[in-house]
Symmetry: C2
Subunit: 456 residues, 2 copies
Amino acid sequence: MQNIKQYVEENKQRFLNELVELLKFPSISADPQYKNDVLKTAEFVAEKLKEAGADNVEVCPTAGYPIVYGEKIIDASKPTVLVYGHYDVQPADPLEVWKTSPFEPVIRDGKIFARGACDDKGQFYMHVKAFELMINSNSLPCNIKFMIEGEEEVGSSNLGVFVKENTERLKADVVLISDTSMISLENPSLETGLRGLSYLEVEVTGPNRDLHSGVYGGAVANPATILCQLIASLHDKNNHVTIPGFYDDVLSLTDDERASLNNAPYNEDEYKKDLGVDALWGEQGYSTIERTGIRPTLEVNGIWGGYIGEGAKTVLPSKASAKISMRLVPNQHSDRITELFTKHFNNIAPDYVKVNVKAHHGGEPVVTPTDSIAYKAAEKAIEEAFGKKPIPTRGGGSIPIVALFEEVLGIKTVLMGFGLDSDNLHSPNEKYDLANYYKGIETIPLFHKYYAELSL
Amino acid sequence: MQNIKQYVEENKQRFLNELVELLKFPSISADPQYKNDVLKTAEFVAEKLKEAGADNVEVCPTAGYPIVYGEKIIDASKPTVLVYGHYDVQPADPLEVWKTSPFEPVIRDGKIFARGACDDKGQFYMHVKAFELMINSNSLPCNIKFMIEGEEEVGSSNLGVFVKENTERLKADVVLISDTSMISLENPSLETGLRGLSYLEVEVTGPNRDLHSGVYGGAVANPATILCQLIASLHDKNNHVTIPGFYDDVLSLTDDERASLNNAPYNEDEYKKDLGVDALWGEQGYSTIERTGIRPTLEVNGIWGGYIGEGAKTVLPSKASAKISMRLVPNQHSDRITELFTKHFNNIAPDYVKVNVKAHHGGEPVVTPTDSIAYKAAEKAIEEAFGKKPIPTRGGGSIPIVALFEEVLGIKTVLMGFGLDSDNLHSPNEKYDLANYYKGIETIPLFHKYYAELSL
């Protein structure tokens, strides 16, 4: 541990400089105009993996953005850890809310602000640096493989094919991912589950053209009004989702499981204060921790229709649309929920409008076992680095790929995240605490050490 | 009549060329980036008024866009007609739906396509040309005054001040406006009423920043979802508006009045076919003609919130907004309705969001008497020009200024519109039938003739 701390201490500035370089790439996978930047980012990551000491580094082409692969095989008889991360980031808008430009990283009171700082550039890069540390200190205790993709924020649509076509190359004993958060440095935690996702786009069409709201208003269905009515009907007064069958496959936890889950540190006043809301909202009968961890949800991610420019336009729009996503929990299935939503939305559409439902992407929910060698190794590593045993939590986010690894590669995943919920993932002013960044680089070698030991 | 027909026939091409010139100005009053174009349009209108023979032509500055004034006083003892129109136009978006560019007028099968073709450039310009005709043929039978403004599409916010400050200059016996529509050339009609307007913008704020919909989804109110719920609640299942007191001042017509109103030619199948809808929507208990003529309505003119770009972004937005307008009928009052809406919207807002309601602009509903000299003159003029007596109808649109004239100048208005509901006012591919344009130029001198005669 001493050598690790020392190495990190001596290389802090360089670790930071390299992260800043990485964060300067606007690698927004959702927006085609950034295509070249995304591709450049992949090259940069490959370069850094080589520099750190990885072999067989390759920028593997896919139907979409490439996947960066690299490995270090020290002994075929030793266990192998597959490190997964993603170099693409969320769109940065609304830009006007950013205090500093999303792709010009700035450090303010110990935090680095930039899109992707935490999700996931700052987090996957800890693994590259921890790997460099283990190579340079001759302490790599197991085989390691890196797979860093560029389409996580748009549904990892091509990773599945890649994994299926490279099962041999990706052969490993466990997947290690740092793309989630912990409660705090004082209360380190390990996520033992993730929610799945079904993401759809709905379009409601009324008249075949925008109309004068005076000449036609009152006689023709307004698609914006109808879309609002349809969306409003998707939750009942207890904020349960009303889609028939939506909860059928939801795994309900035992009272003990719920109790231990609710043991995690949580202060409602601080939570509300941080979000600037006077009251919380959610499914009746569940705590905030449960609402974001073990219960499925339905959210409007975007809505638009009619005149949204400056001033006033008295128009009765022809169309109104919304992006809607549902977070899923075990044992819901993304395809099934997408199908239920589509069927229901078409069913409730009145005959004076036409609706069109388009499925974007999805992912399956996962639960990671807490009795596995890998989980225990992560637990020991965090305990040694943080001086405190991590609290098991359930993550509200989704990493669709985790279910895929289990299905295709037949291996489990450990979610060793070092971010914080307050890091503004997917929000303006995303940041990552440098303390977490360095702490992560210290913790990762310990994970490999204990994982190798416990595997004997 | 013969001389009129002949003059129009001989000058057709020039009348068209001048209209094309006028339509080329993108005089969008709602969008500040077109400021210079709007100002240039005012200069052009003034120029044309001078050329037609008007005296004391002036581009009168206001706090907003200028008002173009011009007059011809032939004999103080004769009646005076005040012609009102507007040279500003609606925004042109969505641009992608236009078959040809909105400000490059194109003629297709006898119709001229351009933003403002009918509303109101094509219509007010008929008066300029009819005036030229009367001057050149020495047949102007009464005094005439022109007041062409540039802020009608944004609520005529500065016209009120101008009218109040110029009551002497604007002194007249009647206001003549062509900014409405008739049923068809075969079924000429005269609008005997207009709806009023209350236009507002609402903003719903949830968390103080955009959030990751996985990390927070289910535990924090989503302002887009809540906005949908609030908007959905503004109509009941019979499509009545639910705002308390909304209908209190609505003047209900007698059965006879309703019957005669419903006598106007109306074919529901054609109506639906034109709009491309399978079914109509509206307040239960009323016909389409009543829903758009004598009943108040509430429409969403625009709605936006969250991520509306390409692809998918799993965000729980901080804010969602909508532009909402209500069409009013006698004896509702714009300020009162705006107040009722604001009060109600704040009342129904749940404590887990904040709402902000901003009033844009409004206008009062009007009814024009059918027993006045001016109405009879219009009736006779149309009967002579079209060979058919006009059917009295109620217009669904709003011309807030009409109520103002009555209040400040103490004079009534005649709504002699030559547009068609199918002219795509406020919609892409706005057009005006040249037959209506020329027919209007023929009809207007007859109005002045009969108005002068009947006033004796």
